[in-house]
Amino acid sequence: MMANFDQVSLLLLVLVPLAGAVLTMFLPKDRPRDAWQFAIFVAAISFVISVVVFLRYDYAAAGVQFQREYAWIGHPLNISLHLGLNGIGAPLVLLNGIVLLGAVLISQTITRRTRDFFVLLLALGAGVYGVFIVRDLFFLFFFYELAVLPMYLLIGVWGSSTDFGTFLRTKEYGAMKLMLVLVAGSVLIWIGILALYVASSQAGEPTFNIDKLAQLQQNGAVSRITELWVFPLFAVGFGILAGLWPFHTWSPDGHVAAPTGVSMLHAGVLMKLGAFGIIQVGMLLTPQGAEVWMPVLIGLGTVNVIYGAISALSQNDLKYVIGYSSVSHMGYVLMGIATLHPVGLAGAVLQMFSHGIMTALMFAMVGAIYERAHIRDSFILNGLIKRMGTTTFFFAIAGLASLGLPGLSGFIAEFMVFTGAFRTYLPLAVLGVIGAAITAVYILRLLARSFFGEADPQWEHLTDASPVEKGVGGAFVVILIAVGVWPAPLLNVINTGVASALSVF
């Protein structure tokens, strides 16, 4: 029976949330709770499938598994819906399952146009799944855009504006900026994809299939010059979504303006699409270009780490701190990728997973605080532990994971990234470690300022996290600790993916 399930599991990963989104449209309009519960149901099914898929991935056998191919457009474009999962996609599928369910649960507080919200959120989830499991550039791009498409409305309609006193960062601004910058990235990716297609067409085998294109590349069908200009398109195009400096500015503004559930998904999973794209498309299909450009990428990644951390240091708004912290942490991912070293790359993938969980947890907890206090200014909030003990505890764990405390998932991931970087680009690795130290400063300062210390009487009325929030937070904390203590189940899978990703060099 499981063998039969393997035949359709990947297709279900995309179809379940997509069908869920379509069905949600037909729910009654005036019963927000029904929409929420139905979305939980859909996300729970997706979650279960994700877990099963991850567990069924046979890391001893490695390679691309659960492959299925459905013809779509024939000659001469030769596009097919080719599904398949490798060792890098598998943990990210799991991550998406976890974060999607968490985000849907947390979105209990959405009461306005609830139905529409979940339609878009589930569509977003489907898009993210799609990118991780397809082996065809057309569909990879299709799902990539599908994941970006709902963002404008999700932020614009349900988001919140931030008043900086002297100026206002409206949600409309955040939404528009995010959408345009991300689609600008897609422009580069699209041109890159077409360039590879043209190369395959000139070689007499027009295709968008990733594995066939990789094969053609190995046979020398793609000229070195092409690779040299196409790789930067992929690196920057996908990099934009991964928060690559200096194209990262959409990310803090977008994350802050988004409602909690969307911030969780976006920082937690969507940014990983970018890093995944660099590995899966850029490195695999244009390795010669990658080799030449990687020193630049690791330089930018290091800037990400330092610049993001320093920016986080100077923010007062809790959500902006986390937003810039994401930029900083995605820097580790980029550094790890750019080392082209097995340990560094594995660290990068593990960091994607670990950061996905911890940043989602942080956004969830900040959302809980904002929901009650209607404010996110860390100078005005204080002594939250008195009234919101559980929330504080969860936030603290996530914060400690992000500063790399041993025993939590962040430590192992960052340690591996640094190991890879020390062996390849020593000076940059040192800078990266300094970035980690700055992270410790802003996280600990934030904890001390807002969560611990004297409580202001104006926060007397705050209540602690709701049962749903506690449940989500608790589950995420367990995952952070579990991965920190026993990362082998993830690393075994990741290492097979890393080995095949590096085999083209």
């Binding site: 779509w72 404008y152 345009l180």
Partner: protein, 520 residues
């Protein structure tokens, strides 16, 4: 070309039928009282359905020439005939409610619509310059009148005058081009032009002037930049269903002519003479850039759609520019794009019409709060705009991907790059419309919101979230008419279907484009 008695006139039955039915509409109009004029919409729609049925029943097994080669009945013509009639059905659906108190002479309106479709059908079958010219004029003259049919609308009359003056000017330019071509080559048949172009020896300057003027004339009809200046005014002034018709029908028809002209007259000579590819490519690039960039500055929805449609013409022209390399792929890309563009625009215009019928406003800012007032219409417009911007799971994404892949494969990756970049630009102005519909609130509701914010400031709350404050309710509008709802519903289904599974349509298009496949 051999001439003689034409014995296969029965092949033109659909066209004869359409002519007769158009006259029938005019005649019945004379006897119908004003309150029953809506029956004419039904009659016109039935006529189009009948023509589609006849055309399908009589579809020829192979291409058959008529009148000694002036026209041809083939798969390409059949495909476009059905396509045009379907567009006509959509336009009729848009017109019924709108026409009740916003159109003059509704009977004539539907009759002229049928005549214009007849012109389009003949255009898709022409393979000789003068026949094509006459068909084009039949289409254009119907449109000149239709544009000016707005009731008590000064804008509509102004648009009609501008449109006819520029239109006649472009016709004159085209006609002068035709006469030059005839002077140089002694023929107006597409295939003979191709043979003469491909023949060795220097072509005379008269020929180049002729071809250049022909392209300019086509550029006017397609509203390619820099021959587009009539379009925004005509679009803005015309009654909404006619604006939709200009955007969809006249563009599709002009591209049908362009495709056949290039396929039969110019592409076969590509081996000897391929400079035209660069000319068209540059024209396409300017059209995309200018159309999409100028659209950014628009405040009126109809003008916005005018510039947006200019941008889309640029994309399709990019496909024309690479017809010389892989003809089948490029032609399929262009036709696929035209179909998707037509369906998507029909959905958007149906939505705009539904809103206009209730509100009587057509500025972008007037759409504020639409998502609360007419949720389905807002969703239809939003999906249509996402599709036009080229986002999945909608047809626009698939069509753009297909077309741009064809352009890149034809050796013009740079042009595909320009197209992709201008798609990004277009996303910005489509999102502005989206923003009005989904995020902004109508002006008369603003008072309450302002009061609300003041209140919040007194509470010394520095940050506030819009979703914390209960919005004062906006009264919903009366539902759109069933006909418009159905048009949007069917259109949306097609948009999603073509976005997810376009293979069946592509098979049909394959047959159509195979009919004009240049030899050799």
């Amino acid at each position: 070309m051999e001439t003689g008695l034409t014995t296969n006139l029965h092949l033109l039955t659909p066209e004869f039928a359409l002519t007769a039915l158009a006259f029938l509409v005019f005649t019945v109009d004379l006897f119908l009282p004003e309150r029953s004029k809506e029956w004419l919409a039904g009659l016109a729609a039935a006529s189009l359905l009948a023509v589609i049925a006849v055309a399908l029943l009589m579809r020829p097994d192979q291409s058959a020439e008529l009148y000694g080669g002036l026209m041809v009945v083939d798969g390409f013509g059949l495909f476009f005939k059905i396509f045009f009639c379907a567009i006509g059905l959509g336009i009729i659906a848009l017109s019924v409610e709108y026409g009740r108190d916003r159109l003059q002479h509704r009977g004539e309106f539907y009759g002229l619509l049928l005549f214009s479709i007849l012109g389009m059908n003949l255009l898709a079958m022409s393979r000789e310059l003068l026949t094509a010219y006459i068909s084009l004029e039949l289409l254009s003259f119907s449109l000149y009148v239709l544009v000016a049919y707005g009731l008590r609308e000064a804008r509509s009359n102004e648009a009609g005058i501008k449109y006819i003056i520029i239109g006649v000017l472009s016709s004159a330019i085209m006609l002068y081009g035709l006469s030059n071509i005839y002077a140089a080559l002694g023929t107006t048949y597409f295939t003979e032009i191709a043979a003469d172009l491909a023949a060795p020896g220097d072509a005379s300057p008269v020929l180049w002037v002729g071809i250049a003027l022909l392209v300019v004339g086509l550029g006017f009809k397609l509203s390619a930049v820099p021959f587009h200046m009539w379009a925004p005014d005509a679009y803005e002034g015309a009654p909404l269903p006619v604006t939709a018709y200009l955007a969809i029908g006249s563009k599709a028809a002009a591209f049908a002519l362009t495709l056949r002209l290039f396929a039969e007259a110019i592409v076969p000579a590509a081996a000897r003479w391929d400079e035209w590819q660069l000319v068209i490519a540059v024209l396409a690039a300017i059209t995309m850039l200018a159309g999409n960039l100028v659209a950014l500055a628009q405040r009126n929805l109809k003008r916005l759609m005018a510039y947006s449609s200019i941008g889309h013409v640029g994309y399709a022209l990019a496909g024309i520019a690479v017809l010389g390399s892989d003809f089948a792929l490029a032609a399929k890309g262009v036709i696929f794009y035209l179909v998707v563009y037509a369906v998507t625009n029909l959905v958007v215009f149906a939505g705009i019409t539904a809103y206009y019928n209730r509100e009587g406003k057509d500025n972008i800012a007037d759409l504020a709060g639409m998502a609360d007032r007419q949720p389905f219409v807002a969703a239809a417009i939003a999906i249509g705009l996402f599709s036009l911007a080229g986002l999945p799971i909608f047809a626009g994404f698939t069509a753009k991907f297909y077309l741009f892949a064809a352009v890149a494969d034809g050796g013009m990756l740079w042009l595909a790059g320009v197209a992709i970049f201008t798609s990004l630009v277009s996303l910005y102005y489509y999102l502005q419309v989206m923003r009005q519909m989904y995020i902004e609130r109508p002006a008369h509701a603003e008072h309450n919101v302002a009061a609300h914010q003041e209140h919040a400031e007194h509470d010394n709350i520095h940050q506030h979230a819009a979703h914390d404050e209960p919005d004062p309710p906006i009264p919903p509008l009366q539902r759109p008419s069933i006909l418009l709802t159905a048009t949007m519903g069917i259109g949306l289904l097609v948009v999603v279907w073509l976005g997810i599974y376009p293979a069946p349509l592509l098979t049909l298009i394959e047959t159509a484009s195979a009919a004009i496949l240049p030899l050799g």
